[in-house]
Amino acid sequence: MGKTFKRPEALSENHTHYCPGCTHGVIHRLIAEVIDELGIRGRMVGIAPVGCAVLAYNYFTFDFQEAAHGRAPAMATGIKRVRPDLMVFTYQGDGDLASIGMGEIIHAANRGEKFTTIFVNNTVYGMTGGQMAPTTMPGQRTTTSPFGRNVEDCGMPIRMAELLSSLATPAYITRQTVIKPKYIVKTKKAIKQAFAYQMERKCFSFVEVVSTCPTNWGMTPVEAVKWTEETLLSYYKLGEYKKPE
Protein backbone atom coordinates (compact mmCIF):
# COMPACT_ATOMS: atom_id res chain seq x y z
CA MET A 1 0.00 0.00 0.00
CA GLY A 2 3.04 2.29 -0.07
CA LYS A 3 3.76 4.68 -2.93
CA THR A 4 6.83 6.01 -4.58
CA PHE A 5 7.65 9.62 -5.18
CA LYS A 6 10.28 11.11 -7.38
CA ARG A 7 11.35 14.43 -8.74
CA PRO A 8 9.61 15.15 -12.05
CA GLU A 9 11.72 15.36 -15.18
CA ALA A 10 10.47 18.81 -16.04
CA LEU A 11 11.99 20.11 -12.81
CA SER A 12 15.71 20.78 -12.84
CA GLU A 13 18.13 19.59 -10.18
CA ASN A 14 18.91 23.13 -9.01
CA HIS A 15 18.16 24.08 -5.46
CA THR A 16 15.68 26.95 -5.36
CA HIS A 17 16.41 30.33 -3.79
CA TYR A 18 13.00 30.37 -2.12
CA CYS A 19 12.69 30.84 1.62
CA PRO A 20 12.02 27.84 3.84
CA GLY A 21 8.41 26.79 3.56
CA CYS A 22 7.60 29.08 0.66
CA THR A 23 4.90 27.47 -1.44
CA HIS A 24 6.39 28.64 -4.72
CA GLY A 25 8.33 25.38 -4.61
CA VAL A 26 5.21 23.24 -4.35
CA ILE A 27 3.60 24.98 -7.29
CA HIS A 28 6.72 24.57 -9.40
CA ARG A 29 6.69 20.87 -8.72
CA LEU A 30 3.02 20.49 -9.62
CA ILE A 31 3.54 22.22 -12.94
CA ALA A 32 6.48 19.96 -13.68
CA GLU A 33 4.49 16.85 -12.80
CA VAL A 34 1.64 17.86 -15.05
CA ILE A 35 4.02 18.55 -17.92
CA ASP A 36 5.62 15.15 -17.43
CA GLU A 37 2.27 13.43 -17.36
CA LEU A 38 1.07 15.19 -20.50
CA GLY A 39 4.40 14.59 -22.24
CA ILE A 40 4.66 18.15 -23.52
CA ARG A 41 8.04 19.22 -22.20
CA GLY A 42 9.44 19.50 -25.73
CA ARG A 43 6.92 22.11 -26.74
CA MET A 44 6.66 24.09 -23.55
CA VAL A 45 7.56 27.72 -23.10
CA GLY A 46 7.26 29.03 -19.56
CA ILE A 47 7.18 32.71 -18.78
CA ALA A 48 8.86 33.87 -15.62
CA PRO A 49 7.50 36.98 -13.92
CA VAL A 50 9.30 39.68 -12.04
CA GLY A 51 8.78 38.61 -8.47
CA CYS A 52 10.26 35.93 -6.27
CA ALA A 53 9.82 33.49 -9.14
CA VAL A 54 11.97 35.57 -11.46
CA LEU A 55 14.53 32.79 -11.61
CA ALA A 56 11.91 30.11 -12.36
CA TYR A 57 13.77 29.24 -15.55
CA ASN A 58 16.53 27.81 -13.41
CA TYR A 59 14.16 25.30 -11.93
CA PHE A 60 12.59 23.77 -15.01
CA THR A 61 14.00 21.83 -17.91
CA PHE A 62 12.29 23.44 -20.85
CA ASP A 63 12.32 26.77 -22.71
CA PHE A 64 11.64 29.92 -20.78
CA GLN A 65 11.23 33.59 -21.37
CA GLU A 66 11.47 36.23 -18.71
CA ALA A 67 8.85 38.96 -18.87
CA ALA A 68 8.93 42.45 -17.46
CA HIS A 69 6.96 43.09 -14.29
CA GLY A 70 3.29 42.46 -15.08
CA ARG A 71 3.67 41.84 -18.79
CA ALA A 72 3.81 38.06 -18.94
CA PRO A 73 0.30 37.77 -20.47
CA ALA A 74 1.30 40.07 -23.33
CA MET A 75 4.43 38.04 -23.89
CA ALA A 76 2.42 34.83 -23.85
CA THR A 77 0.03 36.37 -26.37
CA GLY A 78 2.95 37.15 -28.64
CA ILE A 79 4.21 33.59 -28.47
CA LYS A 80 0.86 31.85 -28.86
CA ARG A 81 -0.15 33.99 -31.81
CA VAL A 82 2.96 33.27 -33.81
CA ARG A 83 3.42 29.69 -32.58
CA PRO A 84 0.03 28.27 -31.65
CA ASP A 85 1.57 24.81 -31.44
CA LEU A 86 3.72 25.69 -28.45
CA MET A 87 2.33 25.21 -24.94
CA VAL A 88 2.69 28.39 -22.93
CA PHE A 89 2.09 29.32 -19.33
CA THR A 90 2.74 32.45 -17.37
CA TYR A 91 3.70 32.18 -13.73
CA GLN A 92 2.82 35.39 -11.93
CA GLY A 93 2.65 36.84 -8.46
CA ASP A 94 -0.09 39.07 -7.15
CA GLY A 95 1.91 42.26 -7.43
CA ASP A 96 2.82 41.31 -10.94
CA LEU A 97 -0.59 40.19 -12.13
CA ALA A 98 -3.07 42.11 -10.02
CA SER A 99 -1.30 45.43 -9.72
CA ILE A 100 0.95 46.53 -12.58
CA GLY A 101 -0.21 43.80 -14.92
CA MET A 102 -3.96 44.22 -14.48
CA GLY A 103 -4.52 45.50 -18.02
CA GLU A 104 -2.54 42.71 -19.61
CA ILE A 105 -4.22 39.85 -17.77
CA ILE A 106 -7.72 41.17 -18.34
CA HIS A 107 -7.17 41.71 -22.02
CA ALA A 108 -5.43 38.40 -22.59
CA ALA A 109 -8.27 36.66 -20.76
CA ASN A 110 -10.84 38.65 -22.67
CA ARG A 111 -9.31 37.93 -26.05
CA GLY A 112 -9.39 34.30 -24.98
CA GLU A 113 -5.69 33.75 -25.61
CA LYS A 114 -4.98 30.07 -25.55
CA PHE A 115 -2.39 29.98 -22.80
CA THR A 116 -2.44 29.16 -19.10
CA THR A 117 -1.78 31.49 -16.20
CA ILE A 118 -0.64 30.23 -12.82
CA PHE A 119 -1.37 33.05 -10.42
CA VAL A 120 0.49 32.84 -7.13
CA ASN A 121 -1.40 34.97 -4.65
CA ASN A 122 0.60 35.44 -1.46
CA THR A 123 -0.96 38.82 -0.60
CA VAL A 124 2.34 40.71 -0.70
CA TYR A 125 5.20 41.77 -2.90
CA GLY A 126 7.55 39.01 -1.82
CA MET A 127 10.66 39.76 -3.78
CA THR A 128 10.95 43.46 -3.02
CA GLY A 129 10.53 43.08 0.72
CA GLY A 130 6.89 42.61 1.55
CA GLN A 131 5.11 45.70 0.34
CA MET A 132 1.33 45.88 0.13
CA ALA A 133 -0.29 44.19 -2.86
CA PRO A 134 -3.79 44.63 -4.29
CA THR A 135 -4.54 41.29 -2.61
CA THR A 136 -3.33 42.26 0.87
CA MET A 137 -6.06 41.66 3.45
CA PRO A 138 -7.79 44.50 5.31
CA GLY A 139 -5.70 45.33 8.34
CA GLN A 140 -2.74 43.25 7.16
CA ARG A 141 0.57 44.92 8.00
CA THR A 142 3.16 45.14 5.26
CA THR A 143 6.19 47.32 4.76
CA THR A 144 4.09 49.93 2.96
CA SER A 145 0.98 49.49 5.09
CA PRO A 146 2.72 49.62 8.46
CA PHE A 147 -0.55 50.33 10.25
CA GLY A 148 -2.41 47.60 8.38
CA ARG A 149 -4.16 47.87 5.03
CA ASN A 150 -6.60 50.71 5.33
CA VAL A 151 -9.69 49.90 3.31
CA GLU A 152 -10.79 53.51 3.25
CA ASP A 153 -7.62 54.45 1.33
CA CYS A 154 -6.67 51.29 -0.46
CA GLY A 155 -9.99 49.58 -1.03
CA MET A 156 -10.76 45.93 -0.59
CA PRO A 157 -8.42 43.16 -1.74
CA ILE A 158 -8.93 42.27 -5.38
CA ARG A 159 -10.19 38.78 -6.12
CA MET A 160 -8.77 38.02 -9.52
CA ALA A 161 -10.61 34.76 -10.13
CA GLU A 162 -13.95 36.47 -9.60
CA LEU A 163 -12.95 39.53 -11.60
CA LEU A 164 -11.82 37.53 -14.61
CA SER A 165 -14.85 35.29 -14.40
CA SER A 166 -17.10 38.26 -14.94
CA LEU A 167 -15.83 38.66 -18.51
CA ALA A 168 -18.06 37.29 -21.26
CA THR A 169 -15.36 35.39 -23.16
CA PRO A 170 -15.27 31.68 -22.27
CA ALA A 171 -12.44 30.59 -19.99
CA TYR A 172 -11.39 28.11 -17.36
CA ILE A 173 -10.91 29.87 -14.06
CA THR A 174 -10.31 28.31 -10.71
CA ARG A 175 -8.87 29.13 -7.30
CA GLN A 176 -6.86 26.57 -5.34
CA THR A 177 -4.28 26.51 -2.59
CA VAL A 178 -1.25 24.41 -1.72
CA ILE A 179 -1.01 24.83 2.01
CA LYS A 180 -1.90 21.21 2.75
CA PRO A 181 -1.59 17.95 0.85
CA LYS A 182 -5.33 17.63 0.27
CA TYR A 183 -5.37 20.99 -1.44
CA ILE A 184 -2.17 20.25 -3.32
CA VAL A 185 -3.76 17.25 -4.97
CA LYS A 186 -6.66 19.39 -6.14
CA THR A 187 -4.40 22.12 -7.37
CA LYS A 188 -2.54 19.64 -9.48
CA LYS A 189 -5.79 18.49 -11.04
CA ALA A 190 -6.70 22.07 -11.78
CA ILE A 191 -3.37 22.76 -13.45
CA LYS A 192 -3.76 19.64 -15.52
CA GLN A 193 -7.23 20.68 -16.55
CA ALA A 194 -5.93 24.13 -17.47
CA PHE A 195 -3.21 22.67 -19.65
CA ALA A 196 -5.71 20.30 -21.21
CA TYR A 197 -7.92 23.19 -22.29
CA GLN A 198 -4.87 24.82 -23.78
CA MET A 199 -3.94 21.66 -25.67
CA GLU A 200 -7.44 21.54 -27.11
CA ARG A 201 -7.06 25.26 -28.04
CA LYS A 202 -10.30 25.75 -26.25
CA CYS A 203 -9.82 28.79 -24.07
CA PHE A 204 -7.70 30.84 -21.75
CA SER A 205 -7.11 29.03 -18.48
CA PHE A 206 -6.30 30.52 -15.12
CA VAL A 207 -5.34 28.83 -11.87
CA GLU A 208 -5.10 31.11 -8.87
CA VAL A 209 -3.13 29.53 -6.06
CA VAL A 210 -3.48 31.01 -2.60
CA SER A 211 0.05 30.86 -1.27
CA THR A 212 2.21 31.81 1.66
CA CYS A 213 5.09 34.19 2.17
CA PRO A 214 6.35 33.26 5.63
CA THR A 215 9.28 35.65 5.36
CA ASN A 216 7.31 38.79 4.70
CA TRP A 217 4.37 37.79 6.83
CA GLY A 218 6.84 37.45 9.68
CA MET A 219 5.64 33.93 10.48
CA THR A 220 7.07 30.45 10.52
CA PRO A 221 5.97 28.31 7.58
CA VAL A 222 3.63 26.41 9.87
CA GLU A 223 2.08 29.61 11.23
CA ALA A 224 1.74 30.86 7.68
CA VAL A 225 -0.25 27.79 6.72
CA LYS A 226 -2.51 28.31 9.68
CA TRP A 227 -3.07 32.00 8.96
CA THR A 228 -3.81 31.21 5.35
CA GLU A 229 -6.41 28.68 6.23
CA GLU A 230 -8.03 30.81 8.89
CA THR A 231 -7.87 34.19 7.26
CA LEU A 232 -7.31 34.01 3.55
CA LEU A 233 -9.49 31.12 2.54
CA SER A 234 -12.66 32.74 3.79
CA TYR A 235 -12.06 35.75 1.52
CA TYR A 236 -10.36 33.93 -1.30
CA LYS A 237 -12.83 31.08 -1.67
CA LEU A 238 -11.53 27.98 -3.36
CA GLY A 239 -13.36 26.44 -6.26
CA GLU A 240 -14.04 26.50 -9.95
CA TYR A 241 -15.27 29.89 -11.06
CA LYS A 242 -15.73 29.37 -14.73
CA LYS A 243 -15.57 26.62 -17.30
CA PRO A 244 -15.77 26.86 -21.06
CA GLU A 245 -18.92 25.90 -23.02
Binding site: G2, K3, T4, F5, H15, G21, C22, P181, I184
Partner: protein, 81 residues
Protein backbone atom coordinates in the same frame (compact mmCIF):
# COMPACT_ATOMS: atom_id res chain seq x y z
CA UNK B 1 7.63 -4.79 -2.25
CA UNK B 2 9.83 -2.51 -0.22
CA UNK B 3 10.40 1.23 -0.24
CA UNK B 4 13.33 3.43 0.34
CA UNK B 5 12.67 6.77 1.96
CA UNK B 6 15.19 9.52 1.43
CA UNK B 7 15.54 13.14 2.48
CA UNK B 8 18.19 15.10 0.61
CA UNK B 9 19.65 16.88 3.56
CA UNK B 10 21.12 19.81 1.68
CA UNK B 11 17.93 20.44 -0.21
CA UNK B 12 15.89 20.59 2.97
CA UNK B 13 15.33 24.04 4.40
CA UNK B 14 13.88 22.83 7.65
CA UNK B 15 10.54 24.49 7.08
CA UNK B 16 8.79 21.84 9.13
CA UNK B 17 5.80 21.48 6.85
CA UNK B 18 6.41 17.78 6.31
CA UNK B 19 6.51 17.30 10.04
CA UNK B 20 3.03 18.75 10.49
CA UNK B 21 1.41 16.77 7.69
CA UNK B 22 2.78 13.31 8.40
CA UNK B 23 -0.17 11.21 9.48
CA UNK B 24 2.10 8.90 11.45
CA UNK B 25 4.13 11.52 13.22
CA UNK B 26 7.32 10.08 11.77
CA UNK B 27 9.26 13.27 11.13
CA UNK B 28 11.12 15.76 13.24
CA UNK B 29 13.47 18.65 12.73
CA UNK B 30 17.09 17.87 13.39
CA UNK B 31 19.30 19.98 15.61
CA UNK B 32 22.23 19.61 13.25
CA UNK B 33 22.69 22.36 10.74
CA UNK B 34 23.13 21.45 7.06
CA UNK B 35 25.62 23.10 4.71
CA UNK B 36 23.15 25.86 3.94
CA UNK B 37 22.65 26.68 7.60
CA UNK B 38 19.22 25.08 7.91
CA UNK B 39 18.11 22.43 10.39
CA UNK B 40 16.76 19.66 8.17
CA UNK B 41 13.92 17.26 8.76
CA UNK B 42 14.60 13.58 9.44
CA UNK B 43 12.61 10.46 10.14
CA UNK B 44 12.67 10.24 13.91
CA UNK B 45 10.43 7.18 13.90
CA UNK B 46 11.21 5.52 10.56
CA UNK B 47 9.46 2.30 11.42
CA UNK B 48 6.14 4.06 11.65
CA UNK B 49 6.39 5.28 8.07
CA UNK B 50 3.73 3.93 5.78
CA UNK B 51 5.22 5.46 2.61
CA UNK B 52 2.07 7.43 1.98
CA UNK B 53 4.08 10.25 0.27
CA UNK B 54 2.13 12.91 2.10
CA UNK B 55 5.35 14.53 3.21
CA UNK B 56 6.70 14.41 -0.36
CA UNK B 57 3.60 16.08 -1.66
CA UNK B 58 3.93 18.83 0.89
CA UNK B 59 7.64 19.51 0.63
CA UNK B 60 8.24 22.79 -1.25
CA UNK B 61 11.80 21.81 -1.98
CA UNK B 62 11.20 18.35 -3.35
CA UNK B 63 13.74 17.18 -0.81
CA UNK B 64 12.03 13.87 -0.11
CA UNK B 65 11.69 10.93 -2.39
CA UNK B 66 10.52 7.40 -2.02
CA UNK B 67 11.72 4.69 -4.33
CA UNK B 68 10.78 1.08 -4.69
CA UNK B 69 13.44 -1.37 -3.88
CA UNK B 70 13.82 -5.12 -4.28
CA UNK B 71 15.62 -5.47 -0.99
CA UNK B 72 13.97 -5.12 2.32
CA UNK B 73 13.07 -1.61 3.21
CA UNK B 74 15.95 0.54 4.34
CA UNK B 75 15.34 3.72 6.08
CA UNK B 76 18.02 6.10 7.00
CA UNK B 77 17.98 9.62 8.17
CA UNK B 78 19.54 12.31 6.03
CA UNK B 79 21.24 9.89 3.73
CA UNK B 80 23.37 11.45 0.98
CA UNK B 81 22.34 11.08 -2.67
Amino acid sequence: MAYKYHIEVDRCKGCGLCVTVCPKNVLEISDKVNTKGYFPAYQARPDDCIFCTTCCIMCPDVAINITETAEPAEKRVGEGA
